[in-house]
C-alpha cells in the first residue's frame, strides 16, 4: 500500500485519528485511550498487517510527551508512524508487548529514561539504571550537577 492508500484506509478504520504532514511515512496522532484497540486492529487487519514494530521511543516536548511508534509490515512493506500525546504530570499509556514482543524491553527503556508508565506491562522496572536512581535522564528538565557538563 502506498502512503495515499494507507491514509484512506486509516481514515476509514479510525475516524478520530489526525494526520500530521512531513516525513517519508504517514504520521498519525491518536488518543491514548484508544491506543490498545487501534494497535490490535493494525496488527490483525489483513490489508494492514503491521507485524513489525521497528522503533519505539518518546520525545519530551517540555509541555507534554509524545510516544512515537514506528510500525511496518513485513508482508506489504509499508510503514506508519503513530504518535500519542501524553500529559507531563502523569504519563500513562497501555502496553503493547503482547502484540509486538519487542515492545517489552523498549517500553522498559522508555520507563527508565522518561518515566512513562505502561499499564499492564508484565515486568515494568528500570532497565539500564539502578533501582534507586532518582529522576529520568532523558527528560529535558533533568539536572545532575555532578555528572552533567553543560556545553
Amino acid at each position: 500500500m502506498n502512503n495515499e492508500d494507507l491514509k484512506n484506509k486509516i481514515t476509514e478504520l479510525f475516524p478520530t485519528a489526525t494526520f500530521e504532514e512531513g516525513g517519508e511515512w504517514v504520521n498519525i496522532f491518536i488518543d491514548p485511550a484508544q491506543w490498545k484497540t487501534i494497535a490490535e486492529r493494525l496488527r490483525t487487519t489483513n490489508e494492514l498487517a503491521f507485524d513489525y514494530l521497528f522503533c519505539l521511543t518518546c520525545v519530551d516536548w517540555k509541555t507534554h510527551f509524545t510516544m512515537v511508534y514506528h510500525l511496518s509490515s513485513t508482508i506489504h512493506r509499508h510503514a506508519l508512524v503513530l504518535k500519542i500525546k501524553l500529559e507531563r504530570s502523569n504519563p500513562e499509556v497501555e502496553t503493547v508487548c503482547d502484540l509486538w514482543r519487542t515492545a517489552e524491553l523498549h517500553e522498559r527503556e522508555v520507563y527508565d529514561l522518561f518515566g512513562v508508565t505502561f499499564l499492564n506491562h508484565p515486568d515494568l522496572r528500570r532497565l539500564f539504571l539502578t533501582d534507586d536512581f532518582i529522576g529520568y535522564p532523558l527528560r529535558k528538565d533533568f539536572e545532575d550537577p555532578i555528572n552533567m557538563i553543560k556545553l
Binding site: 521497528f54 519530551d60 539500564f128
Partner: protein, 371 residues
Amino acid sequence: MIEELGTTSEGYMVINIGPQHPATHGVLRLVMTLDGETIIKTEPHLGYIHRSIEKMCESLSYRQFVYVTSRMDYLSSHMNNHGCSLVVEKGLQVEVPERAQVIRVLMDELTRVASHELWWGAMAMDLGAFTPFFHSFRERETITDIMEETCGARLTMNYICPGGVMADLHPDFQKRVKKFVALFKSKFHEYNELVTGNIIFQNRMKGVGILSAENAISYGCTGPVARGSGVSSDIRKLYPYEVYNKLQFDEVLETGCDSFARYMVRINEMLQSIKIIEQLIDQIPEGEFQAKTKAVLKLPKGEFYQRVETARGELGIYIVSEGGTTPYRIKFRSPGFSNLSALPHLVKGSKIGDLVATMGTLDLVIPDIDR
C-alpha cells in the same frame, strides 16, 4: 520480578552469569533460574556500560554526534557513522559524490567481513575450540591494517562524515584490498573444514535455539538472526541506500530457524560481501571525496529516520530537529537490543550448556545494547 540468588521455594536454583564472564563478550549479566541443568527462565540485566549516548548527542552538533556512534557497536563503526551521515544528508538534502558513495560501501563491506570474522572465531571459542580464533584473526588483521592506513584507526574509525568521507583513500588501498580478497578466498575453505563440517560442532548447533519466523518478526530481530529464520530483512536489498541497488549480490536466507542456520547465514554473508568488494574495487570513480557543506550544519525542523544494515542487523537513527545546530532528540534503534530480547525465549527449556552456543549465534555486542 528480580529473583533472589540461591534456591527458590520450588527448588529451582537462581544463578548469575556475568557481568564478568568470558562467554558474554562484554558486561552482560543474565540471571538464570535453573531446574537442574534445564533453563526455566532467563533475565537479562543491562546497564553496566550504559553511557546515555542519546542524551550526549542532544548537546553535540550534527558533525560531532557522528563520532560518538562509533562507540556503540564498535565492530561495525563504519556502518554506524554511515547511518548518521545519511540521516544528516537526508535532512540537508546534500548530494554525496559518487566516489564517496563507493568508498563508503567498500568500507562497510570490509567492516562486515571483519565483524563476521571476529564473531566466527569467538563463536568457536565459546564452544571450546581455540584454534579458529587465530585463523579468523589472521585475515581480520589485514582488514584492520587497511583501515588503519586509510582511516588512521583500527577500531573506532570515524571515517565517514556528513557530506562524504574524511579523507581520500590511501594510494595503496586498492592493491591491499585485492591482496586481502585473494588471501580470504584462499583461506576460506579452512573455515568450513575446521568448524562448519565438524560433526561435534553441528551436533551442538542443529536443532538448538529455535526461533520461528513469526517470533523473529515479533521480537524485532533483524540481520542474520532474522535471516536464519527465513525472514527477509536485508536493508541493503529492501531499502537500498548509496550504490547498493546497482550491485549484484544475494540476500542470504536460511530456513533452519536454529543456531546452525544463523551460523550459516553469517558464513555465506562473508562471501557476498567479498563479491561486493570485488565488483567495486576496480570501479572507484574519480572525483571529489566530500561534498561541499557548510561549516555549521542546521537541519530543518522536522523528523528524520534512516536505517542501515550493520553487521548485526537494522540500525535505525531517528532525529527530531527543532531547526537548531544540535538534535532535539535522537534515538538509536540498535539491532543488538532487539536481538537480545529474543534470548530468553530462545533458551527456555534447553540445557544450560546450550546457552552459550545460542548466545554466540546472536552475535551480541554489549555497548550496542546499552548505548
